[in-house]
């Protein structure tokens, strides 16, 4: 072989190429019907391009036809893991528009159930996060503890997941007589079980290796992308609506806004675990001090909001949910916009996952805690 031939031979050796992989819409770790188009170089991610809309149900369009009472139950179907908080957002927005004075009892009940919802959502997230990283046992433990909360919901609200417990002006029924006892029992139980979560996953050397310095999101990016909730706070973005714009009974309870500055998967994980402790603290402060009174303020059968625009933000388990209602003084709103936390959080995924491996993308996604119906609405 001559030298020339050798050179041409070397040149014809195929170079490494980037290739595409479709992650989803059916994939175990996208938690629903999310499709990610990954551009990969070997196992290194070059680009993540989310394709949404597989479960788009046009909730905003449906709201334009429904009465204000009916809108509430649609929000159950957005972020189904923090359904009570979604309902609360709509109700607060409507009450705000009507200038309705809601009883203190309602505020406290709403806050307790919101925090229980947050706990149950985080428990589910913890289980699923472990499963995404390969520790399937955590999934069952997370669900085991969540079951007790859903039992509380079932007894008081009448359903386990899509509870629709709020109505504009208050809550649908008064709390069940067993509610306080069950909740207290649960808190004592879960205070014992939560350290187990740490033993099983948080301290585990494999887990920390898998999550530390993975999926980094800087504070500037978090604000710019609008990444809120525990994910945003893990990057140092103080975005807890409960602290910044207190609603319901959050102004009278003491709790810490969990802020980490690392911005990696482990910080997001820790933020959620710590948030569970804070939620329990909030519930303990309120559960014995539920004021007596009505469970619902008097409202008209047909609610008409005065002309104008109303914006209400609440803190769901995933971040800041905004409800923007534009009313033209009819029985259904003119335009409703739900600023869902998942939608904004997802948009930062590309920045976070670039340069990491496929396995890291899974970890990043699960620490973002995506709920697909929340993103697609």
């Amino acid at each position: 072989m001559t030298e020339q031939e050798l050179i041409t031979n070397i040149e014809t050796v195929p170079e490494t190429q980037e290739y595409f992989i479709n992650m989803g819409p059916q994939h175990p770790s996208t938690h629903g019907v999310l499709r990610l188009l990954l551009t990969l170089d070997g196992e290194i991610i070059k680009k993540v391009e989310p394709h949404l809309g597989y479960i788009h149900r046009s909730i905003e369009k449906m709201c334009e036809k429904d009465s204000y009472q009916q809108i509430v139950h649609l929000t159950d179907r957005m972020d189904y893991l923090s359904c009570h908080i979604n309902n609360e957002a709509v109700c607060l927005c409507v009450e705000n528009g009507l200038q309705l004075e809601i009883p203190e009892r309602v505020k406290v009940i709403r806050t307790i159930i919101s925090e229980l919802t947050r706990l149950s959502s985080h428990q589910l997230w913890w289980g699923v996060m472990g499963m995404d990283l390969g520790a399937i046992t955590t999934f069952l433990y997370g669900f085991r503890d969540r079951e007790l909360i859903t039992d509380i919901f079932e007894e008081t609200c009448g359903a386990r997941l899509t509870m629709n417990y709020n109505v504009p002006g208050g809550v649908m029924f008064d709390i069940h007589p067993n509610f306080q006892k069950r909740t207290k029992d649960f808190i004592t139980y879960f205070r014992k079980k939560l350290p187990e979560y740490d033993e099983l996953l948080t301290g585990n050397v494999i887990f920390t290796e898998r999550t530390k310095d993975i999926g980094y999101l800087s504070k500037e990016d978090a604000i710019s992308y609008g990444v809120t909730g525990p994910s945003g706070r893990a990057s140092g973005f103080a975005c807890d609506v409960r602290k910044r714009f207190p609603y319901s009974a959050y102004d009278r309870v003491e709790f810490k806004e969990i802020i980490y500055t690392e911005g990696d998967c482990f910080a997001r994980y820790k933020a959620r675990i710590d948030e569970m402790w804070e939620s329990m603290k909030i519930i303990e402060q309120l559960i014995d001090n539920i004021p007596e009174g009505e469970h619902k303020a008097k409202t008209k059968a047909v609610i008409k909001l005065p002309e104008g625009e109303y914006y209400q933000r609440v803190e769901t388990a995933r971040g800041e949910l905004g409800v923007y209602i534009v009313s033209d003084n009819k029985k259904s709103p003119y335009r409703v916009k739900f600023r869902s936390p998942g939608f904004s959080n997802l948009s930062a995924l590309d920045t976070m996952a670039r340069g990491n491996k496929i396995a890291d993308l899974v970890a990043t996604m699960s620490t973002l805690d995506l709920v697909i119906p929340d993103i697609d609405r």
Partner: protein
């Protein structure tokens, strides 16, 4: 015919003699092969089914569940029902896949453990292939399985499968080293690769007790490395359900999927068997020095029960790992091997040589 549960030598010999007496020598040999083959086929199928059942139950109890309960008493017939389902399922072959290699891969994967299992001593005299390189043979043969995994990933025409296969290749090449080095640590003491000799050398105590600290370290490295070699969690990068859907066997269905499934469990058995033979004395009962009475009581338990008991214990340990730990990432997996296990292993081997030379072992 003289059947003795403590010593199968006479029993096996009498079958041989009987075969030779009724058949010409060549035919007798062939008949012997066929009988052994059938025995092993039955054994492997039963083994696979029961291991799947055990895994499901153990996993369920770790997770505070009950596991399969519907089919048969406590769900004992569940795996049989599963196999029936798998047999009747349509064997799909995806478009654009290399059909020949695709089909071949499933067989390579299952053949490797089939061959390896032949060299394992089940009890005294119950041993098909007892040659002087027995341990070497098992480690060599069982790593053929990775060829099947690579072929499966390559021929599936699926990028997930391909990534899984490549991961598996990298993983097995690395961990093969640790498995062999940790076994060598004990070979330093036995001085032989023949499995029957290794078992016999532990008549007065198992190597894990006799071999001082290096033997214990070697055992743990062996467990870790062989778990990785068999692609089980926390080292199941090749399947990595949450990342690669099902890795190299994404495209397989029906009975060919069952082959992959079965191979995984037989590999598990072989690992546990090798571990039990080398570190825990194989079928040898637990003997402690001069405690005559204790030793006699232990001798009363048949060797085959000892052997399977030890295997069960090791399998339980491996399952415990799988159902507790998160999965490693591929680069961490290689880091673990090359930065931790291999250096420790080499030093451990040196230590063991020192122990053997100075006679510190029992």
């Amino acid at each position: 015919m003289n059947f003795n549960i403590y010593d199968f030598t006479e029993f096996v010999n009498s079958i041989k003699l009987w075969l030779n007496s009724v058949l010409p020598p060549a035919a007798a040999d062939i008949a012997g092969f066929v009988i052994i083959g059938i025995c092993f086929l039955t054994f492997i199928v039963i083994l696979g089914l029961s291991l799947v059942y055990i895994e499901r139950k153990v996993c369920a109890f770790f997770q505070q569940r009950l596991g399969p309960m519907r089919v048969g008493f406590w769900g004992t017939a569940q795996t049989i029902a599963d196999i029936i389902k798998l047999v009747f399922k349509e064997p799909l072959i995806s478009k654009g896949s290399d059909k020949f290699l695709f089909n071949l891969a499933a067989f390579i994967v299952i053949i490797a453990p089939f061959m390896a299992i032949a060299a394992i001593p089940f009890a005294k005299g119950l041993h098909v292939l007892d040659f002087d390189i027995g341990l070497f043979f098992i480690t060599a043969i069982s790593s053929i399985g990775v060829t099947g995994i690579l072929l499966a990933g390559w021929s599936s025409n699926n990028k997930y499968s391909l990534i899984g296969a490549m991961r598996s290749g990298a993983q097995i090449v690395s961990y093969e080293l640790s498995v062999i080095l940790s076994l060598l640590t004990i070979i330093v003491l036995t001085g032989s690769l023949q499995l029957s000799v290794i078992v016999e050398s532990q008549r007065d105590g198992w190597w894990i007790f006799k071999g001082n600290i290096p033997a214990i370290i070697a055992f743990f490295i062996f467990i870790i490395a062989s778990t990785a070699e068999s692609n089980r969690g926390p080292f199941d990068m090749a399947e990595a359900e949450s990342e690669l859907t099902a890795g190299f066997h994404t495209e397989y269905s029906g009975i060919k999927f069952a082959f992959f499934f079965l191979a995984e469990y037989i590999n598990l058995f072989i690992i546990a068997a090798v571990g039990a033979t080398v570190f825990f004395g194989g079928w040898m009962p637990l003997h402690i020095g001069n405690f005559e009475f204790f030793n006699n009581v232990m001798d009363f338990i048949p060797p085959i029960i000892w052997f399977f008991g030890k295997i069960a214990a090791i399998i339980f340990l491996i399952m415990w790992f799988k159902w507790t730990f998160p999965r490693l990432r591929i680069d961490q997996l290689l880091t673990l091997e090359w930065k931790y296990l291999l250096p420790i292993n080499l030093i451990n081997l040196l230590l063991m040589a020192l122990v053997a030379l100075s006679g510190w072992h029992l």
